[in-house]
Amino acid sequence: MLYRIANNARPLLAALGFLGAVLLPPWVPLLVMVLLAFRFAAWEIPAIGLFVDLIWLAPSGEGLLASLPLFTLAGLALMWGLEPLRSEFLTR
């Protein structure tokens, strides 16, 4: 039962992440990315990050921090960084 709920959570979390990127404060898609990364090897993690950056990142921001695609980088870091943890503890 729990297994099924956890698996069904992936599309729901992904939808929340994409909608949150447009409608909700930035910590919502970030939290969704973290939650997805803990449970799934999901392509949606960097996709949400890329979506946030495509919408909101100014192309020539002032300062290094302002011009870096932080959410895309965070998505890639989460997806790859938690892969050893996922492969160690999770079974399919």
Partner: protein, 262 residues
């Protein structure tokens, strides 16, 4: 470890690698194409945001949450009234300063020709202190145009950083990670943006600063960019922290005034 698990993990990693390549390729292609994918993503986000706004107004306008909603509305109206008073006070003070400084500063707001543009995105969703307005190059707006709000359209809240045909991306003056030089009581200070229309600066303790003091910036033609919301100082430090905010509630704004570059 069984060969089945090993092969499963290998497959998962291959999928992650493909996802990484696609994400990086899309980002690179977007830069090379001058924002093709950005345009698509922003158009989609504007459609979603406008649908979200309609749903929100339908739900809250239905009367279902009326008692809570009416209190909230009253509270917001009172807060807005306070903000308007603060804006007026700050404006008066700035005008006084201008007169004192040999009446050399040209009257700004009256002489600027601009257009009123609707805000077409959420102003709280961006992690980079940006939002979108529904006017672009077709309306004479280009990157660098000033975006203003407030009573008399006198407060600068940001600058256009990217202009599309009918929509533009605005970067707030006090966006996170962005520093803006401003003048407070005759002293030039560096204000570090904190997002949400807030900024912080370190000022010498000898500088007399009070809540409600106005901050202007030469970067924005000497216009107002904020008012002092709080001042805190430590007796052991030579500096005091000055907290500045935009005196208009950005999340309540529906329209802004854009002054095109000359």
């Amino acid at each position: 470890m069984s060969s089945y698990l090993r092969s499963d993990r290998r497959k998962a990693r291959r999928r992650l690698l493909i996802a990484t390549v696609i994400v990086v390729a899309l980002f690179a292609l977007d830069i090379l194409s001058g924002g093709f994918f950005r345009g698509i993503a922003r158009t989609a986000s504007m459609i979603v945001w406008s649908a979200g706004s309609r749903i929100e107004s339908a739900v809250f306008g239905s009367g279902y949450f009326s008692s809570r909603r009416s209190l909230q509305t009253e509270n917001d109206a009172l807060k807005q009234k306070i903000i308007e008073f603060e804006v007026e006070t700050a404006e008066i003070e700035t005008l006084k300063n201008e007169n004192a400084e040999l009446r050399e500063v040209v009257h700004l707001a009256e002489s600027t020709g601009g257009i009123t543009a609707p805000i077409v995105s959420s102003v709280r969703s961006s992690p980079y202190g940006t939002f979108m307005v529904g006017a672009g190059t077709a309306e004479g707006i280009s990157a660098g145009s000033m975006v203003m709000a407030g009573g008399g359209r006198s407060f600068v809240i940001g600058r256009i950083t990217e202009a599309g045909e009918h929509s533009s991306l605005v970067k707030e003056v006090f966006a996170p990670g962005v520093s803006a030089e401003g003048e407070l009581r005759g002293a030039v200070l560096l204000f570090e943006g904190q997002g949400g229309g807030n900024a912080r600066a370190k000022a010498p303790r000898t500088l007399s600063v009070a809540e409600g003091d106005s901050v202007t910036s030469a970067l924005f033609g000497g216009r107002l960019i904020g008012v002092v919301g709080a001042v805190s100082s430590d007796s052991g430090s030579a500096y005091q922290s000055v907290y500045v905010r935009t005196p208009v509630n950005l999340s309540k704004l529906q329209f802004v005034y854009v002054v095109p570059n000359r």
